[in-house]
């Protein structure tokens, strides 16, 4: 548990950090899940997080997107403190409206897709822009069709999720998150619920997204993706960051024995 105060100055000194996670702790009751996470993600960077089950990867993403509140530390996105505003050194909870506004800047893709089953692919994608951003339906629809085109599903616009394969559903979920034009995309094991054959399509979409300059934090077991696309790789275990750095270096030459052990099991 490093002290976080000096870290902040250090991080802001660098060029364009988008996400700054400083000494974040998370407790569920007595269960200490995140034990002082520090992490910086710069604009346009693809940051890959790996780690065994229960190491707190999902919890970390959920804290960034305010689906959980942190117990200690700070998370900044775009220099905006997530979840609180600070007045005279005292933190105040944000109200529901402000929380919603912060979330709009952050897209999230879940392991289990969580598409709205009663809406078609197109309706899933335009839901948030029309309802939250109050875009006109026709404008939102144009944008949505572009996004569906991008994820290779323009001919599936009028299908319900239940009529789509897992890989197609996950791609719709990505398009849905992108429709809000977020600055940051969070992916929580986006391919681990898919049949191996269908994984490729989704990774392809994510690769293109990374190329287009989107800042992304990706929790995944796809080491190939991390190696190819990741700018940084973070290995978490037991609620702490064990090792972090260039993906190719870490995969080829893990420093920590826990990293070695984990990689041997997944590769």
């Amino acid at each position: 548990m490093t002290e976080t105060a000096p870290l902040k100055e250090q991080a802001t000194a660098r060029t364009k950090p988008l996400v700054e996670i400083q000494g974040v702790h998370k407790l569920f009751g007595d269960h200490h899940v995140l034990k002082g996470i520090d992490m910086t993600v710069r604009q346009g960077e693809v940051s890959v997080i790996i780690g065994p089950s229960g190491s707190g990867k999902s919890t970390l993403l959920r804290c960034i997107n305010l689906l959980e509140t942190i117990s200690a530390g700070r998370i900044y996105v775009h220099d905006d403190l997530i979840g609180y505003h600070e007045v005279n050194g005292k933190l105040h909870d944000l109200n529901a409206k402000q929380i919603a506004a912060q979330r709009r800047e952050i897209g999230m893709v879940f392991q289990r897709f969580n598409l709205f089953p009663h809406k078609t692919a197109l309706q899933n994608v335009i839901e948030a822009p029309t309802q939250v951003k109050r875009q006109s339906k026709s404008a939102a629809k144009l944008k949505a069709l572009e996004l569906l085109e991008m994820v290779g599903l323009s001919d599936r616009a009028n299908f319900y999720p239940s009529q789509l394969s897992g890989g197609q559903q996950q791609r719709v979920a990505i398009a849905r998150a992108l429709a809000m034009e977020p600055e940051l995309m969070l992916f929580d094991e986006p391919t681990s619920a898919l049949d191996p054959e269908l994984v490729g399509d989704v990774l392809e979409v994510m690769k293109n997204l990374a190329k287009s300059g989107m800042t992304m934090i990706v929790v995944t077991h796809e080491i190939g993706f991390a190696r190819e696309v990741g700018d940084t790789l973070t290995f978490m275990d037991g609620g702490v960051v064990v090792e972090s750095g260039n993906p190719r270096d870490i995969i080829a030459n893990p420093q920590h024995h826990r990293t070695q052990e984990f990689l041997s099991r997944v590769l």
Binding site: K97, A101, H118, K119, Q123, R156, F159, Q163
Partner: protein
């Protein structure tokens, strides 16, 4: 290839069962039609009597308006029950407890007597001057009292049904919608509720059909135009209660049948994307063709569906 054309398993007992059931049915119908105590002549005379038809109309009005009030309140109560404001949760619980717990007849009697108990509705500063006041009896006339009484009572039952329905929607839906930056009320209304409707509709259909019969209690208000009152009044005049009960039963059955058909279509509407989707790959080929044939503009037209 030679298709298998196997001899199906025989079920002789099913046929015996069928025969017995048919026989019973025939005997019941025969004994009903020939039993002079049913006075089928009187039944026919009054079946389309103008008073009876008006009674059907009023019963429908009471049922529909009070169900609408009940549904609106029930949605509110169910949302309140899930609120993170303890006060709302508490109020919602007490409401359900009280209105489910006391007999609707007593409640109707109260709404009918509220004018007697509290002759004036006064809006004013508590313990201070009164600002407005109305004569309760004029504000709450019999029709209003009947509808309010039935609606409030029913809202408690429906609130439980809606609560169970909302609970049945996967939590991931809430998270996905919140992660998109949607406010909780919007999530509830546009994402959770439409999906919950699948679970909500069958018991709500039950309640609606039950309400149809509960309207006969509005005599407590007193409201004297509904089907049961009218047929009862005719029965006491003619001293032939059975055929007039049959008239009422006939009309209730007709309305119930109509409601059951309506329920079928509403169930189908809210099941879209879930229940009535043929296995994906099979449909896919047809659906791809349809998607290509259909210009994209039309697809958005159904977006509103979930809101209704």
């Amino acid at each position: 290839m030679e298709l298998i054309d196997a001899v199906p398993v025989r079920h002789p007992w099913r046929w015996v069962g069928a025969a017995v059931i048919l026989l019973v049915l025939v005997l019941v119908i025969q004994s009903m039609t020939t039993n002079p105590k049913f006075y089928w002549g009187t039944f026919r005379t009054y079946l389309f009597d103008v008073l009876v038809i008006q009674g059907v109309g009023w019963t429908l009005i009471l049922t529909v308006t009070s169900m609408v009030i009940a549904i609106v309140l029930a949605i509110l109560l169910a949302f309140m029950r899930q609120s993170d404001n303890p006060l709302f949760r508490y109020v919602s619980w007490v409401w359900v407890w009280f209105f489910r717990g006391t007999p609707v007849y007593t409640q109707l009697l109260f709404w009918g007597s509220v004018g007697a108990l509290y002759p004036k509705i006064i809006v004013g500063v508590p313990f201070g001057p009164e600002l407005f006041s109305w004569d309760t009896a004029t504000v709450i006339n019999a029709t209003v009292a009947a509808i309010v009484g039935l609606g409030l009572n029913e809202s408690a039952y429906l609130a439980e049904i809606f609560r169970a329905g909302l609970k049945s929607v996967d939590n991931g839906q809430m998270e996905a919608a919140e992660a998109l930056g949607m406010r909780r009320s919007k999530v509830m209304w546009r994402i959770i509720l439409p999906q919950a409707m699948r679970v909500i509709i069958p018991p709500t259909g039950n309640e609606t059909i039950g309400m149809l019969k509960t309207t006969s209690l509005v005599l407590a208000v007193p409201f004297t135009l509904d089907l049961t009152f009218v047929t009862n009044a005719l029965a006491s005049r003619t001293f032939l209660p059975i055929p007039l009960l049959m008239v009422a039963a006939f009309w209730y059955l007709v309305i119930t049948s109509v409601l059951m058909v309506g329920q079928y279509y509403i169930e189908r509407h809210f099941g879209k994307g879930v229940d009535n989707v043929t296995k994906a790959p099979v449909k896919a080929t047809a659906a791809v063709a349809a998607a290509h044939a259909k210009p994209v503009e039309t697809s958005g037209g159904t977006t509103e569906g979930g809101q209704s």
